[in-house]
């Protein structure tokens, strides 16, 4: 089952504009991560924010986390055509065997047009 849900499901913007994607989750977390996926390819890690952090920056990316609302947002500033991809949030969960897994949301498809 999907832990998180991204909103919106699809987003189309012009190059240079900012893109904001939101993620909601259901259970308590140790950390929340954002990944990017170009069409049909592997996922690339963007940023990890721990449960005791509220905001984190990496280049043109800004992530916020509100554990009281069980939500996170990813902001991409000054978007470029190369940012066109699907973006997923993922939360970690402990497994009974002592391992960990990531539970991914449904993703936001971002299209940046020239």
């Amino acid at each position: 089952s999907q832990q998180g849900e991204e909103d919106p499901q699809a987003l189309s913007i012009q190059e240079g504009e900012n893109a904001t994607m939101n993620c909601s989750y259901k259970t308590s977390i140790n950390n929340l991560q954002w990944y990017r996926q170009n069409s049909g390819r592997g996922l690339v890690h963007l940023i990890l924010i721990r449960s005791n952090e509220r905001e984190k920056h990496s280049g043109r990316l800004r992530v916020t986390l509100d554990t009281s609302k069980k939500s996170s947002s990813l902001l991409i500033t000054a978007s470029r055509a190369a940012d066109t991809a699907s973006y997923f949030c993922a939360t970690d969960a402990r497994l009974t065997g002592g391992g960990n897994k990531l539970t991914f949301g449904t993703g936001t498809q971002l299209k940046v047009e020239l």
């Binding site: 592997g42 890690h45 993922a90 970690d92 497994l95 002592g98 960990n100 897994k101 990531l102 991914f104």
Partner: protein, 115 residues
């Protein structure tokens, strides 16, 4: 350094057949996880292996099995294939041990089509 490598990249099977997918983690990574991604959805966890031991299994039937070798590479096996097994199968490796889920490094995936 080479990233996570998966083989084959694409394959087509018919219902009832068996498939083996292979994954080589980044050098030094001891944890390997497998995820299934059906078209239009996010990846779903199948297995995690750490130091050659299974550390977790997702909600998949017993037709799915995996193992990790002494060199930390891994195989995912799926028996008695169903049409619904058609998906992108992603392997990911991690520096972290079994205690924390840090950044995962994904391969490009194996695209399985079941006819």
């Amino acid at each position: 350094d080479a990233g996570v490598t998966q083989s084959p990249t694409h394959l087509i099977k018919t219902r009832g057949q068996q498939v083996t997918l292979r994954c080589s983690p980044i050098s030094g990574h001891k944890s390997v996880s497998w995820y299934q991604q059906v078209l239009g959805q996010g990846p779903q966890f199948i297995f995690q292996y750490y130091e050659k031991e299974e550390r977790g299994r997702g909600n998949f039937p017993d037709r799915f099995s995996a193992r990790q070798f002494p060199n930390y590479s891994s195989e995912l096996n799926v028996n008695a294939l169903l049409l619904g097994d058609s998906a992108l199968y992603l392997c990911a490796s991690s520096r972290q041990g079994a205690k924390n889920t840090g950044e995962l490094f994904f391969g490009e995936g194996s695209r399985l089509t079941v006819l």
